[in-house]
Structure formats: structure tokens, C-alpha cells
């Protein structure tokens, strides 16, 4: 980061400013809130992937699959066509658990694999999950998806389904909880184990850390978070959407959320989600709407901004890797995992 005082102030205080803005924004209208809520969901999914890919250094190319597992578990547990109908909060709980178990199952055979082999196994797992969801159409209703799933609700508070603000603040609160948990885990013994395994697996083993255990825990927690995000997404949309929504390209978008902000960095994930999802669901959509309104799109595929999505994502990734590979918030700016507790100085 530059030493210029303005940049320093921005770098120091943007999270606070962002929090203030998102707290106030819905007061200006539901339209903005509707657009911001998916960003929060993807930020949670990004946090989940960040535990695996950022903290533990295991490249996971199947994050969307865990999102799908969460979404479909939540949907099966809450849609009226099935007899479970357990409601929003128990549904979230079950989704997290199923996601964590699925992550552990994937990690079991993948524990011994290094780098690219692991990446390809997670990619394959993602393919298997979308295929299974597509093919088990007796359960998942195939490409129709399951709907209507349970809408978000706040315990002891009743509000009309059409009111958007309560959902917005609920999701914001859930995101803040997820951020806090990730932050705490990174600053604890677990976080040290993850980063030790990432930096030098063999040295970590020689320090008495079992890398297999460490990776399993990372996968369980990370996948649980991704599934949590998936369930929230399903609830927000009222449907599990369809299996092919959670394909490899979705996984890459989630990976980009983690990479753009800076791997292994909670603040970076939030920034990444804001940029990636914001671009995809706000800027591109609004630009297309605006151009259509002015009659500039016509029948030409080239004149539809959303058709340029992959091109823009792709070029952004290439340029990013070339100019700022460590992400917008590089790891060097991250404070030490364990800070000195105030009482420690007393007993030298």
C-alpha cells in the first residue's frame, strides 16, 4: 500500500465506512436493498471458500457445488410438496450440517493430494453434484428447481413478505456473524494451524500438527459456510434455482471473489464480493436496461452488455494477475494472527 496519508486513511477506515453505508442504504428504497442482499450471500460463500483456499491453501474449484448442496437441502426441508417443512431457521441449520458433512466426505479421499490434483478432484466433485442434482429429478424436480422454499423470517417478529427491509437487515446480521466467526478462527489456534499447513506442510507436520485433520476441519467449516450461503440464497429467491446455476463458472466467480480482494483475508472477501457480484448483478443489468430503454440493443448480440460478461471477467482476471496478483488487499497488510494479549507482558 502506498504511504500517502489519504490512501492510508481509506485503507484503514473503508470497512467502517462500508458498514455505515450498508446500514443506511435501505432507507433510500427497497430497490437498492434488493440488489445488495445477493452480495451479502455471496460474501458468505466467499468467506467459506476463503477458509479452504485462502487460509489453508487448498485450491477448491467446486465451491458452487457446496452452495448447491446448501440450497437444495434447504429447499427439500422447507418446500410444501415434501412432508418435512421445518421452516427457515432449522432449514439453515440442516443445510450447514449437510454441507459440512459433504465437505468432509470430499476431503477424505482428497487429503493426500497436492495442489493441482486436489483442484481437479474438487472440480470433478462439483460436476458430480450438478449431475446428481439434475438426474435425481424425483427429488430435485430437475431443471424446474424446488419452490416455493421458506422465506427468511426473524424469530418473534412478524412482518409482511413484501417488506424487504427486515430481510435485508437479517442477512446483514448473518453476514456480520460469519465475518466475526472467520475472524476469530483465524486469530485462534485453528487459524495458526491452517496457515502453517499452507505455508509449509512438512514443517507443520514436524511441529506436531496433523495436516489431514487440519485440512478436514477447514473443508468442513468452509463447506458449511458455502452451504449456509446457498441456503440463504435459495430462501432469498424463493427457489432452489436449477442445478446448472451452480456449475463451474459459478465456482470460478466465487473463486474470483476470494482472489480479487486478496486470498486469506476476510476484508478482501467482502471487497471482492462487492466488486464481482456488484458488477454482475447491478452494473451489467442496469446498463442493459438503460440501453434497451434507449433502443440501442436491437437484435445484435454484440450490443447487449450482459453478453460481454465473460470477456470482462476474463480480462479483469488476467490484468489483475499481471498487475496486482496478491489481490486488492495484500496479505502483508494483515496483522499477525495472534496479537499479544494485554496481560502477557506481566510474566516474562
Amino acid at each position: 500500500m502506498s504511504d500517502h496519508p489519504t490512501i492510508k486513511i481509506i485503507a484503514r477506515f473503508w470497512p467502517h465506512a462500508l458498514l455505515a453505508i450498508v446500514l443506511v442504504l435501505p432507507l433510500f428504497g427497497d430497490a437498492i436493498a434488493t440488489k445488495l442482499t445477493p452480495i451479502m450471500v455471496f460474501a458468505i460463500v466467499g468467506l467459506g471458500l476463503n477458509v479452504v483456499a485462502g487460509f489453508t491453501g487448498l485450491l477448491n474449484l467446486g465451491a458452487a457445488a457446496f452452495m448447491a448442496i446448501g440450497a437444495y437441502t434447504f429447499a427439500i426441508c422447507t418446500v410444501p410438496i415434501y412432508p418435512f417443512q421445518i421452516g427457515f431457521w432449522p432449514g439453515l441449520g440442516v443445510a450447514i450440517m449437510v454441507g459440512a458433512v459433504a465437505g468432509t466426505i470430499l476431503a477424505l479421499p482428497a487429503m493426500r493430494l497436492r495442489g493441482d490434483y486436489l483442484a481437479i478432484v474438487t472440480l470433478g466433485f462439483g460436476e458430480i453434484i450438478t449431475d446428481v442434482l439434475k438426474n435425481l429429478d424425483a427429488i430435485t424436480k430437475g431443471t424446474q428447481g424446488l419452490n416455493p422454499v421458506a422465506a427468511p423470517e426473524i424469530p418473534f417478529v412478524t412482518y409482511s413478505i413484501s417488506a424487504y427491509k427486515p430481510t435485508y437487515y437479517l442477512y446483514l446480521a448473518l453476514l456480520l456473524v460469519a465475518i466475526l466467526l472467520c475472524h476469530n478462527m483465524r486469530k485462534s489456534r485453528l487459524g495458526r494451524q491452517w496457515i502453517a499447513v499452507r505455508d509449509d506442510e512438512l514443517a507443520a507436520r514436524s511441529m506436531g500438527i496433523s495436516p489431514a485433520r487440519t485440512k478436514l476441519i477447514a473443508f468442513a467449516i468452509g463447506s458449511g459456510l458455502c452451504a449456509f450461503g446457498g441456503a440463504m440464497f435459495a430462501s432469498l429467491n424463493g427457489t432452489s434455482i436449477e442445478p446448472s446455476f451452480y456449475d463451474f463458472q459459478q465456482s470460478v466467480v466465487i473463486l474470483c471473489i476470494v482472489i480479487v480482494g486478496g486470498m486469506g483475508n476476510v476484508k478482501g472477501v467482502i471487497l471482492g464480493a462487492l466488486i464481482m457480484v456488484g458488477f454482475n448483478s447491478i452494473i451489467l443489468v442496469n446498463l442493459t436496461e438503460w440501453m434497451t430503454r434507449n433502443g440501442w440493443t436491437g437484435n445484435n448480440v454484440l450490443a447487449t452488455p450482459s453478453n460481454w460478461k465473460f470477456m470482462i471477467f476474463g480480462l479483469a482476471l488476467i490484468l489483475m494477475m499481471r498487475l496486482r496478483p496478491q489481490g486488492l488487499i495484500p496479505a502483508q497488510d494483515v496483522e499477525p494472527v495472534t496479537q499479544k494479549p494485554a496481560t502477557a507482558g506481566a510474566t516474562p
Binding site: L59, P109, I120, G124, I128, V132, L255, N307, M321, R322
Partner: protein, 318 residues
């Protein structure tokens, strides 16, 4: 159809599919062997090759074009295009970040792949598409059928062997033999093996590492070009997402055989081709599960042999 005939039929389909996958897999595994990068864009280079082939055939008369003119024409243009494309990808996107951590290059490769997918979408969606499988960008385009479906074993035979099966074997097998010869016998091949083992040492021995890497991408791209022509002719349908599908199969094949290992890639590809043929031709409802089976097989193999079937165990230096 008797059991023997069924087995022969599955073998024909499986091997033809497997050989196509093998051509793409060789490109992956060669690049990985040299710079340890999963070149995600490789499958999409092949996809763009398919669209070029479609454009060329379309400009030259489409269905009426005789295969004896079309084949040489396509094989003289498409591989050059894909080789050049692959080479420029290396120069523009990978070379500047070669010293960076591996993940950086991998993400860059995914970026290139996205750009190509987008180009393919426009290519298929614009008036440039000569056959038009619908006006929208997302739909698949049909490739003109140049070979027909006549059975070379005679019309009464239960086993179907079409000219396109023969074409696949006639093109791919000599190419693979040639590639093996090139890698093992020529000076440039030796240089490639040297760079794969230890780039620094190879550089110190006076090998121009940049040139060798460039050449690897050219060869890989050319193989992908040949594969794109064959795939387009064999399956008769192309789509801007096909790069990912085919690339996926090929990459799985390369990993299955032990990435960086050329015979391993071919072995893995044939295995995947056969598994797919069995799933699609023999198991009821198998077609929709063939992806799942292929990836489950990959995971299974890697559990017991973490470096692939033919891959050698890598010891970490302590």
C-alpha cells in the same frame, strides 16, 4: 446383437472418443510437464478451432464439399490458427507471470478461458455463422455432415463402423507416433524433456527455455486444432461451451494417467472414452450418469495412486 458384437461396437465408439480426448489431453499434459500450469484455456482454444472449421467449410460450400478437399483444407488452416492462438496466449498471459506463484498463472488461465468462451459465443451468434442453428448465441450449431453414415462393414453387419471412426484413427494414431518420436529422438524434444525436469539447469546448459516453452504451446495448440477438426466432423455439432466439456474430459484423462506423462494421458483418455461408451451404449440411463462415473473413477484412482496411473511419486526435498 450378440455379446461379441456389442463389445466390438463399444470398443469402436470408445476408442474413437478416447483418441479425440487423447489429442486434447496431450496438449494439457505437455504444458503441465513443462511449466506446471493447468492451461484452462486449452479446451477453449479447441472450441475456437471448431468455429473456424465451421466458417471455412461454410465459405467453401458446406454439405456439398467433398471430404477429400475439406480434410486437407481444414488440416492446413485450423491447426495453424490454434497453434498461433495458444502461442500468443502464452506470450501475453502466462509469460509475464511465470515467476509468480502457481495459483497466479492458474487464475490467469481461467481468465483467458473466459475471454475465449465469450469470443466463441459471439462467433456463433453473429451473422458470421454460416449454417445457423438458431439465431441466438447460446444454441448449438450443427456442423455439415461430410462423411455420411455408411457402414464400412457392409449394410447387413450389426457392428457399425463409419468412415468417421476410421478418419479419427487414421489421423490421431500417426500424430501420436510422430509426437513420441519428436519428444524422444529429436534435439528439440530432448530440450523439452530437459526443461520439464529442471528449467534452471536447462537454461544453464544453453537451452533457450522461452523458445522451448513457446514450442510446447505451439505443438499443444496444433494438436488441439487437429482435435477440433476431428471433433466437429465426428460429432457434427459445436457449441461455445464445448471447450469446457471437452477440456474437462481431456484434463481428467491427463490427471488420471499421471499429469506430465504423455503415454499416461493417452491411456487415461482411452479409459475415459471406453467408460463413456459403456455408459452410453450399454447401461440403461447411463448417458446422464457418465460424467459422474468418470469423475468418481478419477477420485478413486487418485485415492490409491495420488500421482495418477503412470505418474511417478514425487518426493519432497527436506
Amino acid at each position: 446383437m450378440t455379446t461379441t458384437e456389442l463389445i466390438i461396437q463399444l470398443l469402436i465408439t470408445g476408442l474413437a472418443n478416447g483418441l479425440i480426448i487423447a489429442l486434447i489431453a496431450l496438449g494439457y499434459t505437455m504444458v503441465y510437464g513443462i511449466i506446471e500450469l493447468i492451461n484452462f484455456a486449452h479446451g477453449d482454444v479447441m472450441m475456437l478451432g471448431c468455429f473456424l472449421a465451421l466458417t471455412i467449410v461454410g465459405l467453401c460450400g458446406g454439405e456439398q464439399l467433398s471430404p477429400w478437399i475439406a480434410l486437407p483444407l481444414l488440416f492446413l488452416t485450423v491447426p495453424f490458427f490454434t497453434a498461433g492462438l495458444n502461442w500468443s496466449v502464452e506470450k501475453l498471459a502466462y509469460k509475464p507471470i511465470r515467476e509468480a506463484p502457481k495459483l497466479t498463472a492458474l487464475v490467469s488461465a481461467i481468465g483467458v478461458s473466459f475471454v475465449f468462451i465469450n469470443i466463441g459465443m459471439f462467433w456463433g451468434g453473429l451473422p458470421m455463422d454460416v449454417f445457423g442453428g438458431g439465431g441466438s448465441a447460446a444454441s448449438a450449431k450443427s456442423f455439415p455432415d461430410l462423411f455420411g453414415w455408411s457402414n464400412l462393414l457392409g449394410e447387413q453387419s450389426a457392428v457399425l463402423l463409419t468412415p468417421r471412426d476410421v478418419m479419427v484413427a487414421a489421423v490421431t494414431i500417426p500424430l501420436m507416433i510422430g509426437l513420441t518420436f519428436f519428444i524422444n529422438r529429436t534435439r528439440m524434444g530432448t530440450a523439452m524433456r530437459a526443461v520439464a525436469q529442471n528449467p534452471t539447469a536447462a537454461k544453464l546448459m544453453g537451452i533457450d527455455v522461452d523458445r522451448v516453452i513457446g514450442l510446447t504451446f505451439i505443438i499443444g495448440g496444433a494438436l488441439a486444432g487437429v482435435a477440433s477438426v476431428i471433433t466437429a466432423l465426428y460429432t457434427g455439432s459445436i457449441h461455445f461451451q464445448m471447450g469446457y466439456r471437452n477440456g474437462m474430459d481431456a484434463f481428467t484423462a491427463a490427471v488420471l494417467g499421471g499429469i506430465g506423462n504423455l503415454p499416461g494421458a493417452v491411456l487415461g483418455a482411452l479409459l475415459i472414452g471406453l467408460v463413456r461408451a459403456v455408459m452410453e451404449g450399454y447401461v440403461p440411463n447411463g448417458g446422464q450418469w457418465s460424467n459422474t462415473v468418470v469423475f468418481a473413477l478419477l477420485i478413486l484412482v487418485l485415492v490409491f495412486r495420488p500421482n495418477g496411473i503412470l505418474g511417478s511419486r514425487v518426493r519432497e526435498k527436506v
